[in-house]
């Protein structure tokens, strides 16, 4: 059989639908029914582009306040080193403590993954800042080049403030940090 014919027949096999188990579907629908109700929507339809907007006054005021705080935090973030990473000399020779920060006020769980922890999502959970807007972690790192990313509620997110990104094996953009002894 020719290689192309083999591939074509394989693709046809892979296109075979995967059956939906009744029990799985029932459990999913139960979870959805038990989930918190979606916010009641005020639908505003633009005649040109149809979009759904949340326009309740209380929500809008809260969102504006959050945006202001986030904007101030972001402004401060961008005026500093990438990712607001602050490097200070570490007590352990050869290690430099780096502070990682990401602004994610809506996140429920954030962790730091990178080549320094073998991309283990459970190795370095980040803590929420006192104002609830950011997530922080201080980590001693060896001098040199490190690749890292944040995992925000299960999604891999590159550092928005990092100057350089590379692709990892999964097609997810990562960030790079260069750590020197005592200074990033």
């Amino acid at each position: 059989m020719r290689d192309d014919e083999l591939l074509t027949r394989s693709i046809e096999a892979w296109r075979t639908p995967v059956p939906v188990r009744v029990a799985w579907r029932a459990a999913l629908l139960r979870d959805i029914a038990a989930a918190p109700h979606l916010p009641r929507q005020t639908i505003v339809r633009d005649t040109g582009v149809r979009r759904v907007w949340m326009l309740r006054p209380a929500t809008a005021l809260t969102a504006a306040a959050l945006l202001l705080v986030a904007g101030l935090a972001l402004g401060a973030l961008l005026t500093r080193a990438p990712s607001d990473m602050v490097a200070v000399p570490n007590a352990t020779p050869g290690l430099t403590t780096v502070r990682f920060l990401i602004v994610a006020p809506a996140a429920r769980q954030v962790s730091l993954v990178g080549d320094f922890n073998r991309w283990d999502v459970n190795a370095h959970p980040m803590r929420r800042s006192h104002d609830g807007q950011s997530w922080l972690l201080e980590l001693p790192l060896e001098a040199g080049r490190h690749t890292y990313a944040f995992v925000v509620d299960g999604d891999v997110v590159r550092d928005p403030a990092a100057p350089s990104v590379v692709d990892d094996d999964f097609g997810v953009p990562n960030s790079i940090i260069f750590v020197a002894d005592g200074r990033t």
Partner: protein, 213 residues
């Protein structure tokens, strides 16, 4: 390698919803938007939100399950990823932009869930060379066809995940490159390159498997 076995009776499965995993008609896209609006406009009480969302689940879950199964290799992981995807979509439905097809939005969530699942897998060997994700087929297939399906699973497994992702979206889900770009966040030319590389590697892999048999 230890096989992960789960007892799934053929009776416990319902047929996939045919026609929802191939090309989507303009009518289909419009209907999705209408369904989303119906979910958002439903009342708070009596589970009306969830009831309206059920139609979207039935329409898109089969395609999500197929992609996740081919991507992750096990039915169990695929069901977990699809469930997380649909729950996240439900919670974030008010952020859905109708100018984007619902399937594109949903698959962008699913692709991220699969990437995270692969990331979490680390050293765990979850690929079921002995046939977990063909368990349903094993109940009805001959030993020869089961062996063939296991080999097909191995050929997919041998692909790096980024190549496998692009290949599945293009040739199994039959998406256009523009939609794939919107889903994956990658450029069209990069995706075309990945699909080409995936096809070349699969041809070699399948030829070797065919030769061994």
């Amino acid at each position: 390698m230890k096989a992960v076995s789960r007892n799934v009776s053929p009776v416990d499965a319902v047929p996939a919803f045919e026609g929802t995993t191939q090309y989507m008609s303009e009518e289909q896209v419009v209907n999705d938007a209408v369904l989303v609006r119906r979910v958002l406009e439903a009342g708070d009480g009596g589970g009306e939100h969830a009831a309206a969302f059920t139609q979207l689940v039935d329409r898109h879950a089969p395609a999500c399950l197929r992609f996740a199964t081919r991507m992750l290799g096990t039915r169990e992981d695929a069901e977990d990823a699809t469930q997380e995807t649909l729950m996240r979509a439900y919670r974030a439905l008010h952020t859905f932009d109708e100018s984007t097809p619902f399937r594109t939005w949903l698959f962008s969530i699913l692709v991220n869930r699969c990437r995270t699942a692969i990331l979490r897998r680390t050293r765990r060997e979850r690929w079921i060379s002995n046939g977990d994700h063909f368990e349903h087929a094993s109940a009805t297939s001959s030993p020869a066809s089961l062996e063939l399906k296991v080999e097909l699973g191995r050929a997919l497994e041998a692909l790096p995940s980024d190549l496998r992702e692009a290949f599945l979206l293009k040739h199994v889900e039959q998406l256009e490159y523009e939609e794939m770009a919107a889903i994956t966040g990658r450029g069209v030319s990069a995706l075309k390159m990945r699909v080409r590389r995936a096809c070349a590697r699969l041809r070699r892999e399948l030829a070797e498997l065919n030769h061994e048999r």
